[in-house]
Symmetry: C2
Subunit: 183 residues, 2 copies
């Protein structure tokens, strides 16, 4: 396991618990509520766990911050996380509260762009982290597992984009403005 420097730097304020191999059973138990893992076998989860690092966040700790860099995603194994985004007045607004099985930060892992929202632990939170470097290693070393992860990510993003686009177009119906989002 190569410890990823970027994830390590961005998560240095959290307790680092080492690689995720010894949490494989707990990750496997998430399958029914984790879109990313929905088609994973126990063997695939064990394989994936070799490429993930574990962290623990205490209540009120910020895990990722809107606008910052960080090319890794997080999978919540335990605990609850508030997701906040600043509105036009720069006031953080709660946009969701998520818990075990939810993944966060997939977009930044892939595109390396700034975090879209801030995530704050509201309970003790146990997290498995996958960064872009390890995703690239999975693709080279375990291409079928890599394809499976990417396929699940495409599926998740696709479904979120459908629902977000529908809501946007619904609101735009009320506005004399043209949407520029397509299927």
């Amino acid at each position: 396991m190569i410890l990823n420097m970027q994830a390590a730097k961005h998560l240095a304020h959290l307790e680092h618990l080492g690689d995720a191999i010894k949490f494989a059973a707990q990750i496997h138990a998430l399958i029914p509520k984790c879109a990313l893992l929905e088609n994973f076998s126990p063997a695939e989860v064990r394989l994936l766990a070799h490429f993930m690092e574990m962290y623990r966040a205490e209540p009120a700790m910020e895990i990722i911050r809107e606008g910052e860099g960080g090319d890794f995603m997080l999978m919540i194994l335990e605990g609850k996380v508030d997701v906040l985004k600043r509105d036009r007045h720069n006031t953080p607004q709660l946009i969701a509260t998520v818990d075990a099985g939810k993944t966060l930060g997939e977009m930044s892992m892939i595109d390396g762009e700034a975090r879209f929202a801030t995530c704050v632990a509201i309970e003790p939170v146990l997290l498995a982290v996958l960064d872009r470097e390890n995703l690239a290693r999975i693709i080279v070393e375990q291409p079928m597992l890599g394809a499976k992860i990417l396929m699940e990510l495409v599926l998740m993003l696709s479904q979120r984009l459908r629902s977000t686009s529908s809501r946007l177009l619904g609101l735009l119906d009320d506005h004399p403005q043209r949407a520029e989002t397509v299927s």
Copy 2:
């Protein structure tokens, strides 16, 4: 090349030009304006072309229809396409006009769900089609190419989701309503 039955059925009203191998040079020339292909080498484009089928649509022909099935995506090689979505009054609204290099229908290729919008040729249009079955074959037979396609799809969807979510949250700032979309 296995002719895909579902794409063939949904595109039976268009002129079928066979597989995309003889269009590989034209597909390669799209790279500067095609997000999906941006990191492809000529060899990778040729490989991909083996898994795509070519179609031609005449002006005013509907290529895909909102609400219908069809697990394939389309890449425009030539010509212009209007993208329309029905509003709450069931009236088709133009949401975009797109041309060479643009891909359409990626979400349905991946999730198999209904088309989000209708696409109508407004000029003679040349299309390369990739369906889910052939994407699955690429992943098994050419895993690195498969991973590359999936990575580009994740990147495209991720960027669209960022921009759509930002616009939605901008509009929701005006509404006493809570967003449920997260990073």
